[in-house]
């Protein structure tokens, strides 16, 4: 119930938040991706230009002189020196000329590699087929990373020669540095196998494999999102370098690229949470109240039902009791009179045989009739329609009056009787005689419950604005919990052979009749308290 309400109330908020979230993220991502894409593309361009420049330089050398001229060792060495003079980095390391059979005709460096045949090597076949070639980076003899570019030159008479140059890979790194990256970014070249061609800040040294997927070939710059080996979310800008095996990769941590997004996202989440919290609080509080009031209502209804059931039960028991009493009353009257007549006759007859014995027997019958009469009268009293004669009553004096009836017994049994009446207690309008009966009944029970020397306290005070409350407490034997629900039922008695079990049921009936209520609380062996609540009545006189 609470869950459903909360869901219904919060769902639109959450949907709006999620949509906002996605929109903002998309917008900010676009903003973040654009510079990555641009830088990637620009860097790709500059590397391509650089490589193209190297190739042009080679072409220039070849076009400038014949291969024969170049093949004097000094000529190649001079050419390198001339070329390198104009470059600070990425210098040519060596130059070689290979003929169409794959034989190296001449070579610029001190290493004696002339006469070596390259015919079965991939690069040779590649350059023979396509006219130009750029190799992967590899460690050369001097243990310095470098790569090879080669170009084919066709002879007018058929056949061709290949000019092959080794270039320091530092040139590539230098171009990447020029991209102008932030300290958290990383940019490097890999070959199609994912082997680093330039060192990476984060993903390893040159010629080690990168722990990232190798981007597929793309003519322009592509930006994708992925997670690196450390689990960091990163943007990967990638572009293939034309006419080379190189793929440019630019790595930018998402956290940096989307910095603005992250703070915005926190704001969005915070805003959502702040909006949801009061809604949720109100729902929880409201449902709590609702559930409590439902529970309270059903508890009250159950109590009322119980009360009505109890009242109905008492009423039907009362009717039954009255019926029985009424039917028994007539034969009882006959027994009474017949026995009375018998006594009259026996007592008049001076020499009646065993006269005393007969008189005893008849008296015994009459005493029994008397007992029956008490019971039937009480039963009838329980059920009879009582006329309530309302009059202003001072409860204090009424209670003192009732205590007056019991004074002798209290004195004799050394009972401690206390009466406390709230001085602010108003005069109530009720039936004096019936109230006397009520308090007399309750006090009789209290007297029966306490031992000699016991204590009985009566306290009268207000109960709300419209009722008075009279509590009669004793420190007597108490009522066992299993008896408590039955003590107002007719004939329910614990004083076997002494009581009729009608006192409290009559009391109950009277109090109800007077518009009041009566309650009992008891702890066995400790105390019992009966509380009578009565309406003040209409003619309140303070």
């Amino acid at each position: 119930m609470v869950l459903a309400t909360a869901t219904v109330a919060l769902l639109p908020l959450f949907i709006t938040s999620v949509l906002n979230h996605l929109q903002y993220r998309r917008a900010i991502r676009t903003e973040a991706v654009q510079p990555i894409s641009r830088i990637t593309f620009n860097t790709k361009r500059s590397i391509e230009l650089c490589l193209a420049e190297r190739r042009s330089t080679l072409n220039f050398i070849v076009n400038d002189r014949s291969f024969e001229e170049l093949c004097s060792r000094n000529a190649l060495a001079r050419a390198i020196a001339n070329m390198n003079r104009s470059m600070t980095v990425g210098a040519f390391v060596d130059l070689g000329i290979v003929d169409s059979n794959g034989d190296q005709l001449c070579y610029s460096s001190p290493y004696q590699l002339e006469g070596r045949n390259y015919a079965d090597q991939d690069w040779f076949r590649e350059v023979a087929r396509r006219g130009t070639y750029t190799s992967d980076v590899f460690l050369g003899f001097r243990n310095v990373p470098h790569f090879v570019i080669a170009s084919r030159h066709d002879h007018p008479n058929g056949g061709f020669s290949i000019l092959r140059a080794t270039i320091d890979a530092e040139m590539l790194s230098e171009q990447l540095l020029a991209a102008g990256l932030e300290s958290t970014d990383d940019v490097f070249l890999v070959n199609r196998q994912g082997i680093l061609q330039t060192p990476s800040r984060r993903y390893g040294a040159v010629l080690t494999p990168i722990p990232l997927a190798v981007p597929p070939y793309a003519p322009g710059a592509e930006v994708t999102e992925t997670h690196d080996d450390l689990g960091r979310a990163v943007f990967v800008g990638s572009a293939s370098i034309d006419n080379s095996p190189f793929i440019l990769m630019l790595i930018k941590p998402t956290a940096q690229a989307m910095g603005r997004w992250l703070s915005l996202r926190n704001e969005l989440v915070g805003f959502t949470a702040l909006s949801a919290a009061p809604i949720l609080a109100v729902i929880l509080w409201g449902s709590g109240q609702f559930v409590n009031s439902m529970r309270e209502a059903s508890r009250r209804r159950a109590a009322l039902m119980h009360h009505m059931e109890y009242s109905n039960k008492l009423a039907s028991l009362g009717r039954l009791a009255a019926g029985v009493a009424h039917e028994i009353n007539n034969p009882l009257a006959i027994i009474n009179e017949k026995a009375g007549l018998a006594r009259d006759l026996v007592s008049l007859e001076k020499d009646f045989p065993r006269r005393e014995k007969f008189l005893d027997l008849i008296d015994s019958i009459l005493r029994s009739v008397e007992r029956c009469k008490t019971i039937t009268h009480r039963l009838l009293g329980f059920a009879r329609h009582m006329d309530v004669r309302n009059e202003p009553i001072d409860l204090g004096s009424l209670l003192r009056e009732v205590l007056g009836f019991l004074e002798k017994e209290a004195e004799y049994r050394n009972l401690e009787l206390t009466l406390e009446v709230d001085p602010a207690l108003p005069t109530i309008v009720s039936d004096r005689g019936q109230l006397q009966q009520v308090f007399l009944n309750i006090l009789n029970n209290a007297f029966a419950a306490v031992k000699d020397g016991g204590r009985i306290e009566i306290r009268a005070g207000m109960s709300g604005a419209q009722h008075v409350r009279i509590a009669i407490a004793d420190n007597g034997i108490g009522i066992p919990p299993e008896h408590l629900p039955r003590i107002f039922e007719p004939f329910f008695t614990t004083k076997e052979g002494v009581g009729t079990g009608l006192g409290l049921s009559i009391t109950y009936g009277i109090v109800k009749k007077l518009g009041g209520g009566i309650e009992v609380a008891s702890t066995v062996g400790v105390a019992t308290q009966l509380t009578v609540v009565l309406p003040i009545g209409q003619e309140v006189r303070k």
């Binding site: 009424h326 007539n330 007549l341």
Partner: protein
């Protein structure tokens, strides 16, 4: 011994009537019994009684009806109402109609006699 007054005891329980009248006789009271209101009115028409002791609840004419008729026809006859089931309403109605008293049955005969003697003394 002459009876101080004459009593008519009216109740639908024959056993009760016979016992009560006999006991009253034993006490020197001239008493007669009737088993219904109608019989009582007939008896009153024939004889004089100082008191009528009436059961409130009887088949046929009830005690209250009988009081009304007695009041009408024999205003000098005093009536005591026996209230069988403690009906305060009946007792009050009886009192308003001039009944002397309304003891509840089973009634102690000597108490009833006391009531009658007192009423006779006041008269």
């Amino acid at each position: 011994m002459t009876s101080p007054f004459r009593v008519l005891f009216v109740d639908d329980e024959e056993e009760l009537v016979s016992a009560v009248t006999e006991r009253l006789e034993l006490r020197g009271i001239d008493a007669a019994g009737c088993l219904s209101g109608r019989a009582a009115l007939a008896k009153l028409a024939a004889e004089h009684f100082d008191f009528v002791v009436l059961d409130v609840k009887m088949p046929g004419l009830g005690g209250l009806d009988v009081i009304r008729m007695i009041n009408e026809n024999y205003p000098d006859v005093k009536v005591t109402l026996l209230t069988g089931h403690s009906s305060v309403e009946d007792a009050e109605a009886g009192l308003r109609l001039g009944a002397v008293a309304y003891p509840q049955i089973p009634v102690d005969l000597d108490a009833l006699l006391e009531i009658l003697r007192n009423a006779a003394g006041q008269a």
